[in-house]
Amino acid sequence: MPKTEEGEKAFIARAKQGDVEAFGELILQHEKVVYHVTLRMLRHEEDAKDISQEIFLKAFKNIGNFDERSAFSTWLYRIAVNTSIDEIRRRRGKQTDSLEQELESERGRMRKQVADGKETPEEYLLRQEKAAEIRQALELLSPEHKAVLILRDIQGFSYEEIAEIVELPLGTVKSRISRARNQCKAELLKTGERKGEPVRQNKRKEGGFHEM
């Protein structure tokens, strides 16, 4: 894997000549981020895997057009974000996936964490609920707002990096993120109100059971 900037340049040059293995080395350290952004944009693991691999294929096909004015990673993430946004748009209106399916895969992952002993079942339940709520709230944002929120608050990119990825002025990115957060927060509050503190209700029920 290229460690220095010079090393990366050499790998990019080789990839531009059609060297798949060099391209493989270039993307190795970015696979997780690309997959992850795609997963949060598209929700399902299967979709995320397919689309993220499509993103890498697209990048390989187009690496000749990469002008190297930005970092390779920035260029790659730009393709990832744009492809995910397009995919969401393309699917709108013909939504075939079920929320249940998504929840199931998320549960499977979380269960594994419990099995690994990383957290207690109580922590797991709480986290599962919170994660489901926040993912639902994310769904109500426009794909562009969702993208910057994912980049900033899930992936932890700086505002400057995000501005470069989405090719927008810094000020626009900041206000877009702020708007996305406010909308997301409002949705979360609505969900909280709708559910009316279900955790407490459950406890009461359990208590009643034990008294009998």
Binding site: M1, H36, R109, R181
Partner: protein, 286 residues
Amino acid sequence: MKCERCRDLLWAYLEQETTAEEAKEIEIHLAECAACRKEMEDCKTMLESLHTLSDEALPKGYHAELMEALREENGAKVLPIPAGKTTAKWKQMSLVAAAMLLIVAVGGIKGVMHLRQGDYGVSVQMTESADETMEMTETITAKSLPDAGETEGKAAMEQIAVPEQSKKKTASSLSNESDEGMLDDAAAEEESVAFRSAAADEAAGDRVVLRVETIDAAKIDIRECIEVLGGAVEESGDGNSICAVIPAEQAEVFYERLNKIGDAQRLTDFAQESDVYCIEIILEQK
């Protein structure tokens, strides 16, 4: 400070992006305004929930599958090979050997690491003898790696212990192939020897057999480990071994980590006279 202004600055405040002065004003306001305090708590909770969504591993075998798709994509772009164009086998082989010699001479360790990439390029040009050429390449690569540090030359090379399970060609299989034509030609033989000694000078290599539960999962772990130790990775064509280039001072640490991934067994003794160690990890299913 007014509530409206406070709320405008809340996100920036939580990210510590406000000026010290603004932060102070916000804190004063929060101390006396319950509504804004609640608002700030909500914001904080949301950011924390978002952070929890960040811990996600790649699906198993992700990289391998992706590379497969990329190679396929790339293969589709290669021009079709003109039919009926075959020459004497050994000539092709000596060409390959000469090409490899050049790569090694020019590229040193990197050259050896990329030999296997080289053979993709070469083999697509070949027709019927492509398979054999690949075998040759592999044999020479396999032989050149463990041989490092030895100056005895050929005699020493033939004593290298190669595990049966590794399915790599041994010295004896090389002579079998030689019988088919290689040995007849002195030049080819010379080239081959020159290649081997050049490789031995440039790239010192050790070998480790690693027995694991699942090869794909182990590969991911090994890659991560190499990455953490500041090394580089090269996967072999057959997918059952990984070549690592590791800074010399990290070689022992690397071996220890391998032992956590599976049952590691050294085939060579990790005594390379170089700043970087080439280590081939041969993966085996438990």
